[in-house]
Subunit: 348 residues, 4 copies
Amino acid sequence: MADKMKAVVLHKIDDLRIEEVPAPGAPGPDEVKVRTCNVGVCGSDVHYYKRGRIGDFVVKEPMILGHETGGEVIEVGSNVKNLKVGDKVAMEPGIPCWKCTFCKEGRYNLCQDIFFWATPPDHGSLAEYLVHPADFCFKLPEGVGTDEAAMIEPLAVGVHACNVAGVRPGSTVAVTGAGPIGLLAMQVALAYGATTAIATDVSPSRLALAEKLGAKLTINPAKEDVVKRVLAATEGEGVDMVLECSGAAQAISQSPYLVKPGGTIVWIGMTHPPEVEIDQVRLIINEIRTQGTFRYANAYPIAINLVAAGKVNLQPLITARYPFEKAVEAIDMCSTGKAEQIKVMIDF
Amino acid sequence: MADKMKAVVLHKIDDLRIEEVPAPGAPGPDEVKVRTCNVGVCGSDVHYYKRGRIGDFVVKEPMILGHETGGEVIEVGSNVKNLKVGDKVAMEPGIPCWKCTFCKEGRYNLCQDIFFWATPPDHGSLAEYLVHPADFCFKLPEGVGTDEAAMIEPLAVGVHACNVAGVRPGSTVAVTGAGPIGLLAMQVALAYGATTAIATDVSPSRLALAEKLGAKLTINPAKEDVVKRVLAATEGEGVDMVLECSGAAQAISQSPYLVKPGGTIVWIGMTHPPEVEIDQVRLIINEIRTQGTFRYANAYPIAINLVAAGKVNLQPLITARYPFEKAVEAIDMCSTGKAEQIKVMIDF
Amino acid sequence: MADKMKAVVLHKIDDLRIEEVPAPGAPGPDEVKVRTCNVGVCGSDVHYYKRGRIGDFVVKEPMILGHETGGEVIEVGSNVKNLKVGDKVAMEPGIPCWKCTFCKEGRYNLCQDIFFWATPPDHGSLAEYLVHPADFCFKLPEGVGTDEAAMIEPLAVGVHACNVAGVRPGSTVAVTGAGPIGLLAMQVALAYGATTAIATDVSPSRLALAEKLGAKLTINPAKEDVVKRVLAATEGEGVDMVLECSGAAQAISQSPYLVKPGGTIVWIGMTHPPEVEIDQVRLIINEIRTQGTFRYANAYPIAINLVAAGKVNLQPLITARYPFEKAVEAIDMCSTGKAEQIKVMIDF
Amino acid sequence: MADKMKAVVLHKIDDLRIEEVPAPGAPGPDEVKVRTCNVGVCGSDVHYYKRGRIGDFVVKEPMILGHETGGEVIEVGSNVKNLKVGDKVAMEPGIPCWKCTFCKEGRYNLCQDIFFWATPPDHGSLAEYLVHPADFCFKLPEGVGTDEAAMIEPLAVGVHACNVAGVRPGSTVAVTGAGPIGLLAMQVALAYGATTAIATDVSPSRLALAEKLGAKLTINPAKEDVVKRVLAATEGEGVDMVLECSGAAQAISQSPYLVKPGGTIVWIGMTHPPEVEIDQVRLIINEIRTQGTFRYANAYPIAINLVAAGKVNLQPLITARYPFEKAVEAIDMCSTGKAEQIKVMIDF
């Protein structure tokens, strides 16, 4: 096998190139080697590309982008039993330390020593070949493609958010922000039995997609009073949960007025600047729970399951496709025309 | 029995009087009549007295103040089995509707139709006689006095907060604000097995009391960097839980920096103005849970139990006592010299 | 309104009559009067009819049978806001005390002082008119009939069982016993997102119905090895949860071998004699949780919701219908041809 | 360092020898080498010695016994940061796979591929030197000795049981069986805030020790009616939780009658034969939860914490001590005079 491969390398802000890098060697005993088939472009890829950092994570050395990944197993380590050559897989991008309390207690997404694709200084998956732990490569069931496999990653964010929110049959849910995460989280909420899903976004096309995917009500905060409409749609009570996916300060501040007493707000969308005003008295008098969610843990199996069972529909979210050779162009496009695209998919 | 009794009636802002009001009649079949023995003065009493309102609750008609209450049963209704004449009791001040979903699910403190002593328009307990549901009067065990019974009410706030926080053996807890609620919540946390309790307050005397009651570390935010000191005391990790009892905007905003990843902040202290800036990115990246708490549900039995077992010490918190005849003076004093007092107790 | 009405009264074993009894008076302020439209026959009705007792509950005085009830509101009490005359309702048959710890903590089904239709000495609902607390009468949404309303009662048993089991998307569930409760619990599990439902029963017709309603696999324990087949269907792992609805000693004893390590068994079906052999070592080594469930609490709203949303299909379970005048005949039939019937419905 | 060391090797039933075995080499990068200081004798060591098997675990090859271990770090791997040479440690005996769902979800005690000291075919810790993952070696705080470190292992069983049971302040707990596990679980329950602990055992000396360690009531089932006495001590209600540590069929069968409705039974003690009769109707009508517990996960830190804080007292449980040279004699003694001993400690 060749010892070189092509990868999409971010050198510094606005300097992104497809170039040759060393290919990974043979997989270790518990690893597999995968031929990359699809990588989805995530907002974080664009963020590193245009700003060079997210919070404390700063791009100091050239870094391969990409972490939403579907591929095909081409070599398996000696201990690997769950996979064989030829299997198509969805790849979970973080490798935790398994030594800290977070890992041992099942919250490995909080591991402070986790290796995570395309989070500096860790290289990502926008490369032709990958070596990865076999237990973080999940075999695709019949009927799930490698492009969908790539989207299991953002879907896992939605699954984790709904798990943490405690969405259950009969729940009423407002999803603020109908980008990829919002649309996926909303579908998961419906798959979990939510009977009312309300979506908000400033983009009419996103709201239209939200409606198509099951939203009972869509609201454009640029034109309508979100609080009034949500209360009107819930007999004045508010919803059980808000899944805040927009990162917009206004949406964040409004969230406590959308939930009923005893309700839950899940913070998913990063905001900038980070400080946002929250009505603390409202949180107290109504005993509102808020929960930040970061990535996911143990969410891939359920996410794959939901797709295989037809309960989550990924294809309508893929609004543009680019061949690997045009990956830089794909990411460029995301950085400018963001609102019009939901998910841009790169095909190898 | 006389059909008149004396009570402390708030007519309007700054107009508080002891006067004769109609005495309650015979208890209903599931009620008891109680001779009031002690009432503690709460910040909310002072708030209505000096400002006439708390949030949406506005004093429009004359209202009897007081809701922290210990008394002696002097008459029992025909169905009552848990109490007999002569029993000393701690009285839980809220009577929920038992018809709404909150009541049926065990979160009766969120009942929107609850009757609650000294929350407009409901009269309070600063009166010589009270009729109350027997199941909200809890018989005092040996060794617990009626002044302590009155303090079961704020203690129940601390119990509820620790329940919601999930304090358990080995937990590390920061209590911001060492007033009555903070000092009680801290003691409950220690009784629940917390191994490190850190208290903050701007009052040196309150910090001294916190230390006496078990704080391993006390911090004065007017003089010290709370975040630095908490991190230094926890090997850089932060605490498991913050119990925010101060209502100070600074303390609220700092809370996310005091807890470790996966940690919990419980909002207890009301703040004014209600909007406070919170670092949302911190909440997300560290998956911090925040939970507003309002009053309590099902907390009285545990609170009484903790006092009877000697695990919570109430007496050091009673820093002044007044006879009922001087109740107006007592409340007046609270409204001016607040920081120097922890709990002012009225003896009948 | 007439002061007499017809009701189905059990006098003693084998002595069941339709006769005139006093009609209920006007509803109290928080009650409604309902014209009964449908009552389903439950195994417990038959049990009292043929054996005169269930456990410690013994029929000593004449008792009206029936507790699965749908009706129409014909009069409302002065405080009632959630209902009006003409509303069709599903009626939750238990009225708890709201004074004990169980009631206050949201587990009112464990209330030791609960009034419950057709549990001696409390009269049931097989009568023309009923007065009941308004908050235990749930208005039917569009498209749900009063015969389905009657079946909300056994459905609530299934909802409660799935709540307690913690069924969630991706769960694998075995339902042992495909009678009315089993078939309903199975449908609820699927509505909650279970991906694999396995049903067992000795009756081929019940298994056929289970399959029609969504079972991926059905097993007849009279002919097949249930443990082997369940393991074969789950890659040797076992299912996440067993919902034991049969009450058969063999099914109970086998349950620990059907669940995977860390799994859950919910006991729903009463067994006689009550003592059954359980492999304790299996429970320990695999950390299996077992949970008895009794009736339900806070389950009616979700149950109604599932029916209205089309996620649970009740009509196929109604295998026979009788007019009220033939109610004795209906119950007689249940007592003899039980296995061939799922649910016998009485129409008023 | 010498390449040979002495160890206690079980060759087959009744054939136990101290002999020379290969010493472990240098620790790997994430491991430490430990000089063994203390090993406690566990019932399972005796069981393998006298019967050659426990359930499906059969001694087929010579196996070193022992898994309750305290030692001193004598060499650290290159990545190890939490320990240094000279540290005294308590050693958690199981090394899970970190690849299966159980491991990833924080229930690593259910890992089917776990390596566990002295569970065939894995060698145990009754040897002079051990190499072990650093993250499963917990540094002892001031004042905790290596003999106590050895007892952290059975203490962790008690911690896990109380975690699973949900023991909290105010809980009432019955501990059936006052051997080492029972006495430790009882102390943990009290440390967790249980207000009433009731202990049962057929051995008067064990009951005396239970009383000394905090039992409010002790009952000898050989002489007294356990159910009657527990109900009498709890106002007829029963306790909140039973921690079944005896493994006696009678105690197991009685457990459902000791807990109140909604209560919990935790199965800890292995029984033989495994099948025991349980009153299923009681479990159902009272919605009793039962939970098997196997070993522990994430329990060492809390266990050590409880000992360091003086909340659990280990020394009274050490009823005999033997030097390593007499280890065979120690285990022999356990196999014959079991009831009179609580914990036999081997000192290196």
